[in-house]
């Protein structure tokens, strides 16, 4: 009898320890995404389809455009525009995007919401880089600011700064102070300054992705590496179009990405853009090139847009594999950014007086 009871007791202890551990693991992994991901899926249902964008393109006037957006998520942002211009609509749409980022920060589990904080910082990098470039070229910096990011107040102050030294005071205490100081001392060029900001930013994103576990790590690494590949490939193609040397391009590349060193070296050393595209044909990015090859030869931004669409599709695929993961919010924010970019383009084209058919064609080409 004692053998039976010992066996039964031991079995019970083993089973319960294993069950408790596995249950805890499953609950920790999925429960925090339950609320945010269902909410985000419901928000995804309200994203515009091609038909709605076509209707917006037919607005003819900015007034009609804004009225057509009245039954959408953008209504609260477009309700009190100071004046009906593409620029003010731009700002309202950016405010909506900023709020979407804030919502993500609020509803996502703490262990991953910091990633969205980093994505928001990417807008700081864009803004600071644009403002500094504008200031150095003597242009109106205000026009280049996106109303997004964690340092929007400082960015606006930078745009209003009277001297380049004043910008240094504004950037004091931030991670951008050091590269800007070196720019002022002429230790680095304007292009190097921009590259340095992006290098810093992407190293932070990568570091964060590497610090995660299991599928969270897989998704974040895939996303960040694809973003790095996009920037590096666009840099290489633009440089090839301007016949820059391999050494000059190499220093502008962001460390990381999915492309191996051998492929990058080959791309850096090919003769021209056509050969670079031929090299990409044997990589996983060949599908991106298939539809835009002709366009890329005249406009490299077509490749950039196609790559962005590819990242969106990849994240959407991961959302299907991992419905309760960070892939869902990433996929949503990419779609939202894409939609806002197209809405801005439609507003600008309407303001420029283009016919609806032409606007539809331009927007359609951006797909």
């Amino acid at each position: 009898m004692s053998t039976i009871t010992v066996l039964m007791d031991t079995t019970l202890v083993v089973i319960f320890t294993w069950v408790a551990y596995k249950t805890g693991q499953i609950l920790w992994k999925y429960t925090p995404y339950s609320y945010p991901n269902a909410r985000i899926k419901a928000m995804e249902a309200r994203l515009f389809n091609e038909q709605k964008l076509g209707e917006l393109a037919e607005s003819k006037t900015l007034n009609n455009f804004v009225m057509n957006l009245e039954d959408s998520d953008y209504k609260p942002y477009l309700g009190n525009l100071p004046s009906l211009r593409a620029e003010t609509i731009d700002r309202a749409l950016e405010a909506s995007l900023a709020d979407t980022y804030q919502l993500m920060l609020k509803i996502l589990p703490k262990r991953t919401s910091a990633f969205f904080q980093l994505l928001l910082e990417e807008w700081d990098v864009r803004n600071i880089s644009s403002v500094v470039k504008a200031k150095f070229k003597g242009e109106v910096a205000r026009d280049y600011i996106h109303e997004l990011g964690t340092l929007i107040g400082k960015v606006k102050a930078m745009a209003e700064a009277k001297t380049l030294e004043e910008i240094l005071v504004i950037l004091e205490g931030t991670e951008y102070e050091d590269p800007y100081q070196r720019l002022l001392l002429k230790e680095i060029s304007l292009e190097e300054f921009e590259t340095e900001l992006y290098k810093k930013h992407y190293s932070k994103l990568l570091e964060y992705a590497h610090s995660r576990k299991a599928e969270e790590r897989e998704i974040l690494e895939e996303f960040v590496n694809l973003k790095i590949d996009k920037i590096n490939l666009v840099t290489i193609l633009r440089a090839k179009a301007h016949h820059l040397s391999a050494d000059k391009i190499r220093s502008s590349l962001i460390p990381g990405g999915k492309m191996n060193r051998k492929l990058i070296e080959t791309l850096l050393n090919v003769e021209d853009i056509e050969m670079a595209l031929a090299e990409l044909d044997s990589t996983e990015y060949s599908s991106i090139l298939r539809e835009v090859r002709e366009k890329v030869m005249v406009d490299i931004s077509a490749f950039e847009r196609a790559f962005e669409k590819y990242i969106q599709q990849r994240m959407s695929e991961l959302t299907k594999f991992y419905p309760l993961s960070i892939a869902t919010p990433i996929s949503y924010i990419l779609q939202k950014e894409w939609e806002i970019r197209r809405l801005k383009a439609i507003a600008k084209l309407i303001e420029d007086g283009l016919k609806p058919e032409v606007i539809k064609k331009i927007i359609g080409e951006q797909l």
Binding site: M1, I4, T5, M8, D9, L12, I15, V19, T23, I26, L27, Y30, T31, S34, Y35, P36, N37, A38, R39, I40, K41, A42, M43, E44, A45, R46, I107, P323, L324, T328
Partner: protein, 161 residues
């Protein structure tokens, strides 16, 4: 240990584990339902149906608890396996096994809640996927049904009324 301990454990674990798993499952799906409804009230009906699916495991647990209590005589006032004999100990162990089977297979309520949660998200995006979402979530139910059937066989053939 005395036979009563195994019998009581079997009944308690059947209802306890399955009930706890159901509450986790309903909780996970409920959080998703709240998220979907926060964006659009129209999602309420679909979300409610999906959220309720992981509750069934707790019912299986409760049925098993009653059966164990009934066959062992706890329900009725005269416990049948009071003496610590080998035969009584084996029968008590069978009842514990039956309870554990339902309790452990009842853990399927947790993945069912996760599937229901993903289904609520999918339905919120595209209401046409409601039926499919129910079928996917119901698949997890199969394990709990197998557990209940296994427990019934154990109780009826191993112990009997």
């Amino acid at each position: 240990m005395e036979p009563i301990v195994y019998v009581a454990l079997g009944a308690a674990l059947a209802a306890g584990i399955a009930g706890a798993a159901s509450s986790f499952g309903v909780g996970i799906a409920g959080a998703a339902a709240a998220g979907a409804v926060a964006e659009d009230e129209k999602n309420f009906r679909n979300a409610l149906v999906l959220q309720g699916l992981p509750m069934t495991q707790s019912i299986y647990g409760l049925i098993t608890l009653f059966l164990i209590a009934l066959v062992s005589g706890i329900l009725g006032g005269s416990f049948r396996f009071a003496e610590t004999t080998t035969d009584n100990l084996i029968k008590a162990a069978i009842l514990l096994g039956a309870g554990l089977t339902v309790g452990l297979t009842g853990l399927s309520a947790i993945p069912q809640g996760i599937i229901a949660s993903a289904g609520i998200g999918a339905t919120a995006k595209n209401p046409k996927t409601f039926t499919q979402s129910i079928i996917f979530a119901a698949m997890a139910e199969t394990m709990a049904i197998f557990g209940l059937v296994g427990a019934l066989i154990l109780i009826i053939t191993g112990v009997g009324f």
